[in-house]
Symmetry: C3
Subunit: 461 residues, 3 copies
């Protein structure tokens, strides 16, 4: 399976426009860690890939946490003396602190003030704030808006509900030849913020479309979940089967014009870490590979010490390092079709490494085999050889059963795709044979994956 060869025929510009259109479709929805916003979002993803949505009741214990009440909101505003809406949820869902409790009151500015949040350094932007686990309410607004507020009474309304309900997430499982899995996870809980994380949702969905119906080495599982509590809930419900995860990526903030940043798994030298680093090294101008740290996105949960899964996090600009982060400036202009397409391309290249990274055995290990009589060498001596022939020599020399193709690509400095092509050609020539993947064959006996609470699964395309 070579995903890139399937992807390439399409124009990058076309792919990028399509990704951006999907992000734009998701943009207006007011998402949170629970509620109808995330349900609508999952429904739109379900139009594209086979998605199971899972509903977990409020109050369900999940490790050290408890599934919270479900939050929904219809409207919110601050009205001035004239009755006009000064701050209006209908104009931007960022105006309400996410998970605000319902409020309906009239109060003087002095009393309202502690509930207002702004960014003085960027006086025209609205900040994004949440208060999931402490009951509170608040409004986020531009600093200039706040400065314009005069003393006096304001009518304040947050028409929200915070009640027992469910936490909702989506899961797309694409079975491969092995039950060993690749996990792709992205958080789907942020409201109108484009890079964080409609970019991740759009790319992950497109990746799912690309993989659907193919003959795959690994099984693939895509998670569209609320951040932190969603990952913890999923882990709690799948504790017995996470051992199948061989590789994984958290996708987040991959639509802006920044260079790629890859944060390694806690293991630090997992195959996914090496695969992403390899592709970045060959395909990008100045990528950054960051060491693992226990702060960030849901890799925090997947890489907690009880799980320690081989899951890294792919980003462009790193969260918190750019001023638009968690503000209204992270809008649809902040993400670009070209970058979205580039991120999809990169992911496909990484999956191509994972799908094709195997060990081989040189069947003529004593001296070089005579490539010339098999038409695998240049015919006239005295001149230098090209990259393709060089790749063949590398694969032959290091295919002793110990080196994987990725090991050989790293040691030779030759792109994995060229090494992989060489291995395929040498196999066809009878010079190489694949070494069976011990672990893959073992886990295949465990049977197909199952959900621990299948009765809670509410819908599936």
């Amino acid at each position: 399976m070579r995903l890139l060869k399937e992807l390439d025929p399409r124009e990058p510009a076309e792919i990028g426009q399509e990704l951006h259109r999907f992000a734009a479709q998701l943009y207006p929805i007011c998402r949170s860690i629970t509620g109808n916003g995330i349900r609508k979002t999952l429904a739109l993803i379900q139009n594209r890939i086979p998605l199971q949505t899972v509903e977990v009741p409020t109050g369900t214990p999940v490790f050290d946490w408890t599934v919270p009440k479900e939050w929904n909101i219809r409207d919110a505003y601050i009205k001035g003396r004239g009755g006009q809406r000064i701050v209006d949820f209908q104009q931007s869902n960022l105006h309400v602190m996410n998970y605000s409790t319902p409020v309906r009151a009239t109060m003087p500015l002095s009393q309202l003030r502690p509930h207002l949040f702004t960014i003085p350094e960027h006086p025209d932007w609205i900040p994004y704030r949440t208060s999931y686990y402490q009951e509170n309410w608040g409004f986020c607004l531009s600093h200039n808006q706040m400065l314009a507020l005069e003393n006096g009474d304001y009518e304040v309304c947050i028409d929200s509900t915070l009640e027992d309900g469910h936490l909702t997430y989506g899961e797309c499982y694409l079975p491969g030849r092995s039950t060993d899995e690749v996990l792709i996870s992205c958080h789907a809980c942020h409201p109108s913020l484009a890079n964080d994380n409609l970019s991740g949702l759009a790319v992950a969905t497109a990746l799912g479309e690309l993989l659907s119906g193919r003959d795959l080495r690994y099984s693939y599982r895509f998670l569209f979940i609320p951040g932190t509590i969603g990952a913890i809930t999923w882990l709690a419900r799948n504790r017995e089967t996470v051992g199948r995860i061989r590789h994984g990526l958290v996708l987040t903030g991959i639509g802006d014009v920044g260079e790629f940043h890859y944060k390694k798994s806690r293991m630090g030298n997992a195959e996914i870490d090496r695969a992403v680093a390899h592709i970045l090294r060959h395909d990008c101008e100045s990528p950054a590979v960051l060491e693992f740290s226990p702060y960030g996105y849901d890799e925090r949960q997947y890489c907690s010490p009880g799980f320690n899964l081989p899951i890294g996090c792919l980003m462009r600009s790193v969260w918190g390092s750019f001023p638009e982060y968690h503000t209204s400036a992270d809008n649809l202009d902040f993400i670009k079709p070209q970058q979205l397409a580039g991120s999809l391309h990169l992911c496909a290249a990484v999956l191509d490494v994972l799908e094709n990274n195997q060990r081989y055995r040189n069947l003529n290990p004593y001296g070089e085999p005579q490539l010339g009589r098999r038409d695998l060498y240049r015919s006239m001596g005295g001149e230098s050889i090209g990259l393709e022939i060089s790749a063949r020599l590398w694969v032959l020399n290091f295919s002793d059963g110990g080196y994987s193709l990725l090991d050989i690509a790293e040691r030779s400095g030759i792109p994995f795709s060229v090494i992989s092509d060489a291995a395929q050609l040498l196999c066809q020539s009878g010079l190489l044979s694949v070494v069976p993947d011990e672990r893959a064959s073992k886990t295949a006996l465990e049977g197909t994956p199952h959900y621990s609470n299948p009765t809670e699964v509410t819908s599936s395309r």
Copy 2:
């Protein structure tokens, strides 16, 4: 136990002045590897910390060596034609080559000349020279003094004795909860040289005062010994119990204005090596960590292959690298109160690492525990976190029983003290438990340390 928290309340200037005053008190004494000079020195140290002085008879075999004769000196001079003292031991004890045999003679300059030592590059300084193991005599003087000598006869007197007696050293043992030990060693054999090594004696003594009477994880042993032969003698007498030494430092030349230099133990990656490097990295501007070499101070003996103890050497300017080294210019002006206080502070910080560096186990290893409901997290989402919260996440994520707090501090780049505070807080919150130190509990059964030749111990406060 947090030594730094005890040290800090006092003013650094005040601490430094006190250290310098003690060095000044020790400065005039004519020390050597045996004799009354080192006895007087130890007596002054004994006024401050509980010190056992040990006397080992001349002729005692100690590994490949033999305890030498005891050397004492009352007076020495070179008198010119007029009878005036041209070179006078009473003005500086450096004027006599240390361990000079007694001489009383009149001789022409030509005969005297081979017994005179100077430093032509620094014509006003007196060099420091010794001849411990080859019987010889000599005078050290400034090059200008020597140039002024006219031909003619000189009266030469060295009123010394070199006779059977004892080698003397001092040992201060502070018992802790474990019989595992931290060894602090400094050479006490140099005469009027301030940085080398009154700086070490003053700081080690102050460290002993600071530790006295505290509840300590480790037992501490301070050695004040003559260089080389003293360390070899101590090792020979304690051969059976040196295995208790878990960490150690040789302190030398830590009063001058140079930056810190730490020379690693022969092991190269012992806990002491990593602890000192960590503190230097965080607390100093441009510290240097040097690889072990078998030349230097008594780490040569502690790190000889038969022992290979985890003992490094802390210095400021490295011996031999500054012109004042082993000359009369290494005087009380050459060492500074601020630097002495800084060295004490650094040692205390290192001991804090050793005392608190343990392994912990995260009791909620599956996903992150919910810090928010324990008031260990920021309450509003969307903004970044501070160093304290970050340290908690690091400690939780890596406390899998394998990583020590120092491992976590190194991996996170966060100062050990912040990591250690986080661990303490998480323990109090019931989220973390300490992993018992296997080796510490085992050695605790071995009982308290004993001296192999207790009858030779002559005094103890």
Copy 3:
């Protein structure tokens, strides 16, 4: 055995002239991978060192290859209309593509053209081209020569034979105390090219002369073989005994003025790799140590995965990286006496490391032994020590049975020769004893090496 001490008395200039004279003697011979050219070459080497020449019949299977037909050539030319020789084998044997099949024809330029090879970037040089394994014929000529060719008919003659015969190689075996071997290999198949590889042949021959008749730790085997097919043939015939090879070097292109380049064995950290790197680091200004790659000279075969021998490749300028490579400009002016002598010197220094690199045990491991009373230390204290004394301390401290002298030289930064002298002196003083080489003693039981097909050996001095 200290080869360098034997080599040094001779003037480098004298040594270099002698090496260059030998290269000049070999230069005119038209060598190929088989035939009389290589036989004549081996005969001239046999005048200097004891060499067995081995003849392997055409058609002999050697791993994945087959010994090819034997090629010989008497004359070749292209004649123009006037009958004069325009391209003449008698002027340079490079003019004929090596292994050209016989031709005798008259043809128009258009038909001749595909058989002509030039280097447009260097219009005065003749390229070197071969076609060993695809039957073909061709002429190599300067680009200017070709441009001057007018349309019209040309008389073309290659008076060669390509018939069943033998592949010939030379082998010089110098027995040492152990049957463990050092292999020195160089290709002897290139025609009039000086750096590639008369430089290797001359230096290897001189090294053989230097080692002859000495008391050696290792046995030495020199191979003078046709590239690729020769190495494969030798490996196929000695498959059972290559395990004796403990260290090896391919010598090639070591006469030009470029700095040394050493390409490491596939193992990457074999003793030969470390020995060469050590000598280069201390003796050369800006040497380069290159990672192994499966393209280059016969290390390709020795380091194929079925053998994976500890054999590296010593070069000056790297093949393909200089314009003279594989052209008529790689002539006797391109190699210099001084560089040839320097290469011989370097090889001797490397062999000195291999011969003397052993493990020792400090017989007084507890503390330092008292070097002073053995006259192995400076007598007066207070001053610094020199490199010789420092080397003694390093050897004593690290001779715990685990570190070899090369380990100690690397860790100390002191040249191996100084470390080795110190070890010898300390042994004589009874402070050190050698640790027997386990493997050497074991393999000594296997008996002397034998040839798998001794009947084919045709001659031996």
